[in-house]
């Protein structure tokens, strides 16, 4: 980790969504603020700043972390993935597509964090049960949807992958 004096700032260099980026950070600058206000990646949202609501979740070196509970200086050299990097160019990822199809978002404020967690979750558990999906979502607060569409969307993607695999086996 970088060492920096209380009143000083230092350069933090990261790979974000595949591109090298760097910016200035004081020792207590939160990762969410660094991403948003230093790197201009406003897609990551801040909902509670105490690690409960999950809105600010981003991927750091392949793990889903709360960017409001992480300091920018902790991630120097890390590989970061945010909502801006989920799609492929202009195309939505299958999970993003499923969220749209299943009306899994209304105001969209919690959505970036949910997408990151769900993307990571499906990497580790490609065929979850509904209970497992709900358990994963318990790390996120959504006030609009009642989680109904999100659960369906995530199961959709899991099911679609399963379907493809079954086809390959045949």
């Amino acid at each position: 980790m970088l060492r920096v004096k209380p009143d000083a700032t230092c350069r933090v260099t990261v790979t974000v969504n595949g591109a090298a980026r760097s910016g200035r950070a004081g020792p207590r600058l939160l990762l969410c603020d660094f991403l948003r206000h230093e790197l201009g990646l406003y897609g990551t949202r801040v909902g509670c700043e105490h690690g409960v609501c999950g809105a600010c979740t981003v991927m750091v070196d392949g793990r889903a972390v709360r960017s409001c509970l992480t300091f920018a200086v902790q991630v120097d050299g890390a590989e970061i993935r945010t909502v801006e990097g989920l799609g492929d160019g202009g195309a939505l990822s299958p999970l993003q597509e499923a969220f749209r199809r299943r009306h899994a978002l209304q105001c969209g404020y919690c959505t970036a964090g949910v997408l990151i967690s769900a993307t990571r979750f499906l990497e580790t558990n490609p065929r979850p049960t509904e209970a497992e999906v709900r358990d994963m979502l318990s790390g996120h607060i959504c006030r609009c949807t009642g989680y109904h569409g999100m659960v369906r969307a995530i199961l959709d993607v899991a099911g679609a992958e399963e379907g493809e695999e079954e086809e390959r086996r045949r």
Partner: protein, 801 residues
């Protein structure tokens, strides 16, 4: 409408909003930096619920190198006037505490600095000398003999009282065969949108003008109050909303005092200021639904006919009556008969000040509390009269043939078939099977209960209903009030592209999608061809007092304005095309992006070319067609008249119907409530977008369920706030959500043109009641209190008779 395809209106059309929201491209208030030189604000908030401010020492904070300026309540109060209220009492409400704090979390001082981190550092350097006062922590304390008054000039914590009488309630109760009485309490909770408040204020000279960017949601009647507080004409306070808002559920109306605060501070500190509320500030200091401690009595004949209702409402308004309060007490007032044909109603409303955050809009706005009284009383009456809870409701429902139905309080229910809605709920729940299951469970000693609740859902508010808080004489002196204007502009630019402006400031309800569906149908285009701007800019938008996003007003009022503007544009396009095609305008149809002779694909004219002609060649337009295409509709539903001298008023435009059924089993060992079945049936009139309607129903249910089971803003006996983080204030999460069975019955509304009714509150109004009714049924007792937390239910189950 095009003949060769199904209309877009009604389809589960995917939302236009989602692309930007799913990729992180959408912009919310904290993403905005509309001008250079912005300073960031932190607010110092009171740690005491009730205290006199002896002195505020700001020198150390002001000396912080990153600080631009520091302001105290006194400095702000010297620059603004108190914010007016519909209740005529001597309460001076400023957006910041002046000399006295009246709730924990009330702003006391403001710091502007180069960044938020520094502003918060400096706020900690402010020294406030408080003289703590005894706190009035709840209704009982507030009304107790010798209670310290929050507002000395009022002399008491009872800040408002009005009594109302419709029909002949005294005779109804004197002649009743049964009178059912229910004493009830309703807790404080709030829908805590995931995005908190945010505002950027800028004061400029020559001319002196305030501009405030924010995620304020309306109602824009509050713009007039903000102008009053700032002492400025309306055209010198420009309000602009962010393109996206991260949820509101009503709460974001409570942002407006901060807008006044920031605007005044921007003037005093000569800098543009930005403030983003943090979550801890939001929980302690934003707003909440009202807590109440009331009694209801219902008079019945022996056959179960409801003949009279008597409401005694005691409402904890918190530290101030903050506009538009006391509207939450009056929103259901003129519909106090609920779904029933009851001719005699009396209502006594008392508003009480306590050392708690001021109440405000929250999903359902007064509905959850009102139905907790009425619909719990109906279930209790069924038990007392040995009638089935479904049957007692069916006997008293307003009948299908009675619509439009004028209620004793003056509401005009537009349409409905409540019995059909109830029957559909019973069918979806398989009521008989549930009944058998309950009997079986009980024979095994298990706690199984079924609860019902039914509601009308008023939508599209009359801006005058809040003046029921005034006497007819006070209203006469204040001048007439009525109406609920909705507006929309549909325009076509010189390239032939269509833009719709709704000033409806949505917070996730998909207004842009629905507006595009409506306009696409009218113009023979695709929704993706149409851009919709939903933001407000009070200097450039066509708007009025009722503009904004609340009271389910989009589908009850605004869509009528959208449809009318679209119709006028379509008429004009047909007129222009008819001239080229050399036919009569009524022989032209707009289909598939073209104008053509009805049923004749050959010779069709591209829509964009026809439309562009209004800009490019005004001299060549046919008679009757003016230049340009810019159609603005401002409408006020004619039913929304002023309250009459007997306090009757039509409070809303459309009245949807909701019927919820909950079946639960209680584990007496843990107090856990297992929701075995939950059915919710809705009459939203014509469905404009099936998936958005479905989403609103699920979301409303989640709020109602949270209120029923776990959500509460807790204050201790000294008035200290105990729910100040998301670790303490428990929002409902995915594992707690039971399956929800949704059903529909549809009676088209004669209002608004498209047949739709407002919707969105839905089960947020009924789930607390349906689940409490089920708990009462399971436990065999009526003294149910929300939220039904594990420890509370465990206590009730263990102590049951």
């Amino acid at each position: 409408m095009a003949a060769d395809r199904a209309p877009y209106v009604g389809a589960a059309f995917p939302r236009k909003e989602d692309g930007a929201l799913l990729t992180g491209a959408a912009r919310f208030i904290d993403d905005m930096s509309p001008l250079p030189g912005i300073r960031h604000v932190a607010l110092l908030r009171a740690p005491h619920p009730h205290a006199r401010i002896r002195a505020v020492e700001t020198a150390r904070a002001a000396a912080h190198p990153a600080v631009h300026g520091v302001l105290t309540g006194r400095q702000i109060a010297a620059a603004v006037r108190p914010i007016p209220s519909a209740v005529r009492v001597p309460i001076d409400y400023y957006p910041i505490a002046v000399d006295k704090v009246r709730y924990a979390g009330e702003p006391v001082a403001l710091v502007a600095a180069s960044d938020r981190y520094a502003a918060e550092d400096a706020a900690e350097l402010i020294e406030v000398d408080y003289e703590p006062l005894p706190a009035v922590a709840d209704l009982d304390a507030a009304l107790a003999e010798g209670a310290a008054p929050l507002h000395e000039a009022v002399g008491s914590n009872l800040v408002h009282r009005r009594s109302f009488r419709y029909g002949d309630p005294e005779t109804a109760f004197a002649e009743a065969d049964h009178v059912v009485r229910l004493d009830w309490k309703f807790p404080r909770y709030a829908s805590t949108p995931m995005e908190t408040y945010g505002a950027i204020a800028h004061f400029e000279r020559s001319p002196d003008r305030y501009t405030v960017w924010s995620n304020f949601q309306g109602p824009f009647i509050l713009h007039a109050l903000m102008c009053g507080a700032l002492g400025t004409p309306g055209n010198r306070l420009r309000l602009i909303t962010a393109p996206h808002s991260g949820g509101s559920f009503g709460i974001k109306q409570g942002l407006f005092p901060y807008m006044i605060l920031l605007a005044a501070a921007s003037r005093l500190l000569d800098a543009p200021l930005k403030w983003i509320e943090d979550r801890l500030e939001h929980l302690i200091g934003s707003s909440s639904a009202s807590s109440r401690r009331d009694a209801i009595e219902a008079a019945f004949r022996a056959d179960g006919t409801l003949t009279g209702l008597r409401f005694r409402n005691i409402v904890d308004v918190g530290a101030y009556i903050r506009a538009p309060e006391p509207a939450s007490v009056y929103r259901m007032h003129s519909a106090s008969n609920g779904c029933y044909r009851v001719p005699a109603i009396s209502i006594d409303n008392r508003l009480v000040a306590t050392n708690r955050v001021p109440i405000g809009l929250n999903r359902g706005y007064g509905g959850p509390q009102f139905y907790y009284a009425l619909e719990r009383a109906m279930d209790a009456a069924a038990r007392a009269l040995r009638l089935d809870p479904a049957e007692i409701r069916r006997r008293n429902f307003i009948r299908r043939e009675e619509f439009p139905y004028r209620t004793p309080g003056g509401a005009l229910y537009d349409s409905g078939d409540y019995a059909a809605g109830l029957d559909e709920a019973l069918r979806l729940a398989d009521y008989r099977a549930l009944d058998a299951r309950r009997a079986r469970a009980r024979s095994e000693g298990r706690l199984f209960g079924i609860g019902l609740a039914a509601a009308v859902e008023p939508s599209g508010s009359n801006m005058a209903y809040v003046t029921l808080a005034q006497t007819p004489e006070e209203r006469a002196r204040a001048g007439g009030r009525s109406g609920g204007l909705g507006s929309c502009t549909v325009s076509i630019d010189p390239s032939g592209a269509v833009t719709v402006r709704t000033v409806s400031t949505p917070a996730g309800q998909g207004h842009g999608t629905v507006a595009a569906q409506i306009v696409a149908d009218a113009l023979g285009l695709r929704p993706e061809d149409i851009d919709v701007i939903t933001e407000m800019d009070t200097l450039t938008s066509a708007w009025s007092l009722a503009s904004g996003n609340y009271a389910n007003r989009f589908s009850s009022v605004v869509v009528g304005a959208i449809a009318e503007s679209a119709r006028r544009v379509a008429d004009k396009i047909r007129l222009l095309a008819a001239d080229t095609l050399e036919v009569a305008p009524e022989d032209v149809e707009l289909v598939g992006g073209a104008a053509r002779i009805v049923g004749v694909p050959e010779g069709a004219l591209p829509f964009r070319r026809v439309a562009a002609r209004a800009h490019w060649h005004p001299a060549g337009l046919p008679e009757g067609a003016g230049p340009g295409i810019f159609e603005t509709t401002i409408l006020s539903p004619p039913e929304l008249g002023p309250p009459d001298e007997r306090d009757r008023v039509a409070p809303a435009v459309t009245f949807g119907f909701v019927c919820d059924l909950a079946a639960i089993e209680i584990d007496p060992a843990t107090g856990r409530i297992d929701i075995v079945k939950y059915v919710s049936v809705h009459d939203v009139g014509t469905i404009l977008n099936a998936s958005i309607v479905e989403g609103q129903i699920h979301g409303g249910f989640a709020h109602g369920l949270g209120g029923a089971l776990m959500e509460e803003m807790v204050y201790d006996a000294e008035g200290n706030f105990q729910s100040g983080s998301f670790a303490d204030y428990l929002c409902i999460t995915a594992p707690e959500m039971p399956p929800l069975t949704v059903g529909h019955v549809t009676t088209r509304s004669p209002q608004g043109g498209l047949g739709a009714k407002g919707m969105g509150d839905g089960s947020s109004m009924l789930a607390p009641t349906a689940i409490a009714n089920a708990a009462a049924d399971a436990l065999g007792r009526e003294d149910i209190e929300l939220p039904l937390t594990l420890d509370r239910v465990w206590g009730l189950a263990g102590a049951r008779p």
